[in-house]
Symmetry: C2
Subunit: 209 residues, 2 copies
């Protein structure tokens, strides 16, 4: 498949920057970064325009980057041996996305990252980010906290998969992520909940009646 996204220009050394610094400051809003720190960070961010359908990361590619979503919608999913897709994560505005399991160890992707609504994302490499950790320690804390949230979300998901019927999990999903529900297809939601699209359809029918 052709690459459907294009890179924006990138200028190093902070002389000229194509990326909106103000926006970068908002990404890390609670950190109270110094202007020079924001500039330093901005230099490592790369803005990408993605068309719906783009596969940003393919299975077995080494994962060097994570992405911050400015707009649009992406998801990570796993293709199992029987050809079924299992959605691990959706990401809309202000979410981070990657195959984190592979990202952390700079190893091969198990997941694919797919753009499911035209999107603008920042691409951030792990390597550059680790250099930044040393310069701006609060960044490491920022990402540690993100990770803690992600960990908690995964645990919650394991428990709801184990203890709740599909109908309850669907209710939780639309209640917890109303904005995501609007950006994705029902078959995406089904693959996230771990049911077939037919089962989801039956659940939805039950609800409306």
């Amino acid at each position: 498949m052709m690459k459907q996204f294009q890179k924006t220009k990138k200028y190093y050394l902070g002389v000229l920057m194509s990326i909106d610094k103000k926006f970068i400051a908002e990404v890390f809003q609670n950190l109270d970064l110094q202007p020079n720190e924001v500039e330093r960070i901005a230099a490592t961010f790369e803005l990408l325009d993605l068309k719906k359908g783009t596969i940003l990361l393919h299975e077995n590619e080494v994962v060097h980057d994570q992405y911050y979503v400015r707009s649009g919608c992406l998801r990570t999913y796993f293709n199992d041996v029987s050809g079924k897709e299992h959605t691990i994560q959706f990401a809309i505005k202000d979410w981070w996305i990657s195959d984190y399991t592979a990202f952390f160890s700079t190893s091969k992707a198990l997941l694919q990252i797919e753009c499911i609504q035209d999107a603008q994302v920042y691409k951030i490499s792990r390597k550059e980010m680790e250099v930044l950790y040393a310069e701006i320690p609060s960044l490491e804390t920022f990402f540690r906290k993100k990770m803690e949230k992600g960990f908690a979300a995964f645990q919650k998901r394991i428990l709801s998969n184990l203890s709740q019927p599909a109908k309850d999990r669907y209710y939780s999903f639309i209640k917890t992520y109303p904005n995501i529900e609007q950006s994705v297809k029902n078959y995406h939601i089904a693959s996230y909940l771990g049911i077939t699209t037919e089962s989801l359809s039956r659940i939805r029918k039950e609800i409306t009646s």
Copy 2:
């Protein structure tokens, strides 16, 4: 239920320490800590002797601590509305355990921590650990990496729950955690795999035949 564990004495300021510093150094073996750093850490560790059956943490208690297992075996589990137990994690020698979701935010426990084989554990408070992060930055990195591993394990579990039948999940479990298999009951394993003990029994029967 009576408390079945007793605290060991604890001496502050590094004047006298009841806890084996050599052992502490091993906990963080890859960090290459200085002797004074080890001493500093040791002062925040509290050694507990636990009897099988002890509930170290009850649902709805605020979670201030995590535990490092020196010996024995513990598990965290969730009691769902219908009275079923769902095991989230087992911990044997050299594993860390807590209700991390609550631990990270110092909020109320959803899980219980149960000692399932007589154990010796170190208790480490989040608060003290965060002070240590500032003094010994490599500690924050150490725990971030642990978290990354835990995150990856959770993702793997979500995917295997969604894509594999119980039999395959059981095979993976005993292959991945042979040492845990020997320390826990089959009904613990069943509650980890998300099946009933009857189903696990049938799977085991199939294997032996």
